[in-house]
């Protein structure tokens, strides 16, 4: 027998002075292979066309659809309803600016973090397009890719105790990025340069090691190890 699911969805339009934050309940029949992507779109198509939420790739790679699903940040597109109870509570990610309902402005947050941390490869110079590329050890390329897999979904920031208290905290996403660029020989920065952007309480020393980030990362990035390692290196850089 098909289950009847109840989606209890956070609703609020921050631009409308009359809007009061509330939960709306939508009831729908579960279908085989149903994901929250399918369920929310059915709600919008059949019950309430004004419901705001964000899906882009619907395949778990673009990081648009992170939300709090029964208390836990995760990617809605690849969450199967069969793994959830009859009643499903959906909230927007905390710690981000609310656009409306389940939609939050992760893009603005991520761009701000990237600019502050200078989260890009600091090049020694421009490449010679015509020449053979500089060799790299295969294992090193794979290790960089391992940390490069972050999709900036914001789950780690939503699950972060420090981010709740400090608006300027760079989160696991920021620290992982610096770890990624630090590992990359194409980035010319020294540890002292990394210390300048991440060696304070808004960076590695603000982390309380609760590690909710590590538990919820949809890409299973090794955040625990990377944060601990970066903190050790930055502490040493700060002392020396």
């Amino acid at each position: 027998m098909t289950r009847r699911l109840t989606l209890s969805v956070f609703r609020h339009n921050p631009r409308d002075p009359a809007s009061v934050p509330r939960q709306d309940r939508f009831v729908l029949g579960e279908t085989a292979g149903m994901t929250l992507f399918i369920a929310l779109n059915r709600v919008r198509d059949e019950q309430d066309p004004s419901l705001n939420f964000d899906f882009v790739c619907r395949a778990g790679v673009c990081g648009s659809c992170a939300m709090v699903i029964n208390g836990r940040p995760g990617l809605a597109c690849r969450t199967q309803t069969k793994d959830l109870p009859d009643e499903i509570h959906l909230y927007p990610l905390p710690n981000f600016e609310l656009i409306g309902d389940l939609s939050v402005n992760t893009g603005k947050w991520m761009r701000g973090m990237s600019e502050r941390l200078e989260a890009w490869t600091h090049l020694a110079g421009e490449p010679e397009h015509d020449r053979l590329e500089t060799p790299m050890e295969p294992e090193l390329a794979e290790a960089i890719y391992e940390l490069d897999r972050c999709i900036e979904c914001g789950c780690c920031v939503a699950a972060c105790g420090t981010a709740r208290m400090r608006e300027d905290f760079v989160g696991a996403v920021g620290m992982n990025k610096l770890a990624r660029f630090r590992l990359d020989p194409r980035d010319m920065r020294s540890d002292a340069a990394f210390y300048q952007v991440v060696g304070d309480d808004s960076g590695v020393f603000g982390c309380m090691a609760l590690l909710g980030c590590h538990d919820v990362c949809p890409k299973a990035l090794p955040l625990q190890t990377q944060i601990a390692y970066l903190r050790r290196v930055m502490a040493r850089t700060g002392i020396l």
């Binding site: 893009g107 053979l132 660029f181």
Partner: protein, 664 residues
């Protein structure tokens, strides 16, 4: 009226748009990017298997070069592409891969010595030479003579997009996120920018610019099931179409990828087959060698997709509640290989199918994947009919892919076209033609029109159901404008789409807000999607031949005599239907005259010029040994390139000497 001025307005924050913006910013031009979503969420991120560039580092890539890549691309296009563009592209792809390598893409690298690979279902040992150690490696892809596809596991698009997007941030290029261009501002001859809606506040702004670049991706979402991201609704093509002046090219050229999972339609990369995966039917039988004994699973995408459909029509499909499918079997590759090189595939199988691809076969079926057609431009990316309007990437038809794109050529095209078109846009802006001469009255007129249009839609005084109309469009596109097409079905489809278009302009609305309101967004996009759908269906109906991905059951032959031409379509203002015309491809200048692709039996109506040109080409080949000189004699193209990109590409087997030699 709020107006934002820039030199260059790039619409679209995917790889093509970002790389264009980097080029124009570096030329000293004030550049800004509009994006529906945060740039890193663009559909480029979903490219998995890799980027073609003839680096020739890996053992199975030895002997590769621009010539081989060019020929693969032209054959792949079923001779529908612009060969000059294909030449420029093949020449640029190694430069693009190397630039990305320097900027930070963690390309997988060659490891010297022996390693195992799976080829044609068997484990073989390959030996990588010591000099190649640490250089960018490559995997096999369909329709290619060499292993040419550079990759980062199966997250290539992600790694590329993040590196290029980070570079754009590093170079302080603003991205106005969650904004949508609703109309191009133009005077019938020259494009001056766009009217743009803030998807959060609903506010409209006129963006005025010397050059406007449409880099909005494809139009896959007019089909019900597509591998495309949800934002790929063809809105960039619609912007150009609604000018009434600019033309779209080859809209009927649409690729169906052999391996999307059933039922979600999510892609699993061609790299699965490139790395040795096999296709099997309901009996577990490997059927592709029966149809294509030479290339088997690694025939061109259009060919594999059609063979799969053919095999299912013979009753060999696997029955499922979601319709018939076949199996993709990568178990032969082993868990270690999948964990390292096909990890996104593993994740997709786990989360969307609940299976482990190292142990289980994957249910797949051909699914809409890529738009070869798009905004028709010249090789500089500019519309010949509307000055100052440029386009690149999947949104454009400059026309690299003709009637079938090779796997791995799309992400390569995004960065290559961005590198090139960015330079041409900068040249344009720095020329007299690039001066901004628009009056603010014109901007106000366009803005007022959009405001009135949105208010009328939001008032919602009609009685039609937008969701139902959209579902119907998706269904008839899937049924009639899919893998196989025929006249009667296409004719009925064109008629019904025209009706849906009329109905879509009188929708009932439940809400009336003008700020973040998904119902409003769906309502104003729907007629534009239907217009795009009509251009596709009408192009397909008119083209009475089969070429590449356009397969007509009632006209199975490729007809070079009558159809070696590009479809052009525009939508004259105030008309109820688009107007088609055609642009012939000139065989007498082709480096590779029309011939047989090498799949199935020859079924071609020859063009009278083909044999003559083939004779000239054969003569030149016999007379000139040096490949560069031969190429220059047959179809000179370097003069079309920006000067900085004219140099030869170095390879292990083709070393460049001193710096001066590289420039020749």
């Amino acid at each position: 009226m709020k107006i934002i001025y820039s030199d260059v307005l790039v619409i679209g924050g995917g790889l093509a748009g970002l790389r264009t913006a980097i080029a124009t910013k570096r030329r000293g031009l004030d550049t800004l990017i509009l994006s529906l979503v945060p740039a890193k969420r663009s559909h480029s991120v979903a490219a998995q298997g890799g980027m073609q560039a003839s680096l020739a580092n890996a053992a199975k890539g030895r002997g590769d070069n621009e010539d081989v890549h060019f020929e693969d691309t032209v054959r792949g296009s079923d001779w529908g592409c612009d060969q000059l563009v294909a030449r420029m592209f093949a020449h640029m792809a190694p430069k693009a891969a190397r630039e990305l390598a320097a900027w930070g893409v963690p390309w997988n690298r060659v490891r010297a010595g022996a390693h195992e690979a799976v080829i044609n279902g068997e484990r073989v040992s390959l030996d990588e030479r010591a000099e190649a150690h640490g250089l960018i490696t490559a995997r096999d892809f369909g329709g290619t003579k060499k292993w040419r596809t550079c990759y980062t596991s199966d997250g290539t698009g992600h790694a590329m997009l993040y590196t290029v997007s980070d570079r754009a941030i590093a170079e302080s290029i603003p991205v106005h996120e969650r904004r949508e261009a609703l109309a191009l501002i133009h005077d019938g001859h020259r494009c001056h920018g766009a009217v743009v809606r803030d998807l959060v506040s609903g506010e409209l702004t006129a963006y005025l610019a010397r050059a406007t670049v449409v880099a909005t991706g494809g139009y896959g979402r007019i089909w019900g099931v597509s591998t495309n991201a949800l934002i790929n609704e063809g809105m960039g093509a619609a912007l150009a179409l609604e000018t009434g002046v600019a033309r779209l090219g080859n809209m009927e050229a649409v690729q169906f990828h052999p391996t999307a999972i059933v039922p979600a339609g999510i892609l699993v990369t061609e790299g699965c087959r490139g790395d040795g995966g096999l296709l099997r039917d309901t009996d577990g039988y490997r059927f592709m060698p029966d149809y294509e004994p030479e290339k088997k699973e690694l025939a061109s995408r259009d060919v594999v997709s059609r063979r799969m459909a053919e095999h299912m029509r013979k009753g060999k499909g696997v029955k499922s509640p979601y319709g018939e499918h076949l199996w993709l079997d990568i178990t032969v590759l082993g868990a270690a290989h999948i964990d390292k090189n096909l990890r996104e595939v593993k994740d997709i199988c786990h989360y969307f199918l609940g299976i482990d691809p190292a142990k289980d076969t994957i249910p797949v079926r051909p699914t809409q994947h890529y738009s070869m057609g798009g905004v028709r431009t010249d090789h500089r990316g500019e519309s010949p009919w509307l000055g100052g309007l440029f386009s690149c990437g999947e949104a454009a038809c400059w026309d690299l892919h003709g009637f079938n794109r090779l796997g791995g050529n799309s992400v390569a095209e995004t960065v290559v076209s961005g590198m090139l078109i960015g330079e041409y846009v900068a040249d344009f802006c720095q020329s007299d033609a690039g001066d901004l001469t628009v009056s603010t009255a014109l901007a106000r007129e366009f803005l007022a029109r959009e405001v009135a249009h949105l208010r009328a839609i939001a008032a919602g005084r009609g009685n039609e159901d937008g969701v139902a109309i959209r579902r119907r469009m998706e269904a008839i596109m899937t049924d009639s404008v899919g893998l196989f097409r025929n006249g009667p079905h296409l004719e009925a489809t064109v008629g019904e789409l025209a009706e849906l278009l009329v109905r879509s302009q009188r929708l009932a609305m439940r809400g009336h807000r003008l700020d973040a309101n998904p119902e409003l967004v769906a309502a104003y996009r729907l007629p534009r999607m239907l217009k795009i759908a009509l251009t596709v269906a009408m192009g397909a109906l008119a083209r009475t031949e089969s070429r590449g991905a356009h397969a007509r059951e009632d006209f199975p032959a490729r007809n070079d005599r009558d159809w070696l031409k590009r479809t052009l379509v525009r939508w004259p203002e105030g008309e109820g239907a688009p107007a088609l015309d055609y642009e012939p491809l000139d065989i007498t200048g082709m480096e590779l005259p029309p011939g047989v692709r090498g799949y199935g039996a020859k079924n071609i109506v020859d063009h009278p010029d083909s044999a003559c040109r083939q004779g000239e080409v054969d003569e030149a080949r016999a007379a000139i040994a040096d490949r560069h000189k031969l190429q220059a004699a047959l179809m000179p193209f370097r003069q079309l390139l920006p000067e900085r990109y004219r140099g030869r590409n170095e390879r292990l087997d083709e070393p460049l000497g001193a710096r001066s030699e590289a420039r020749q």
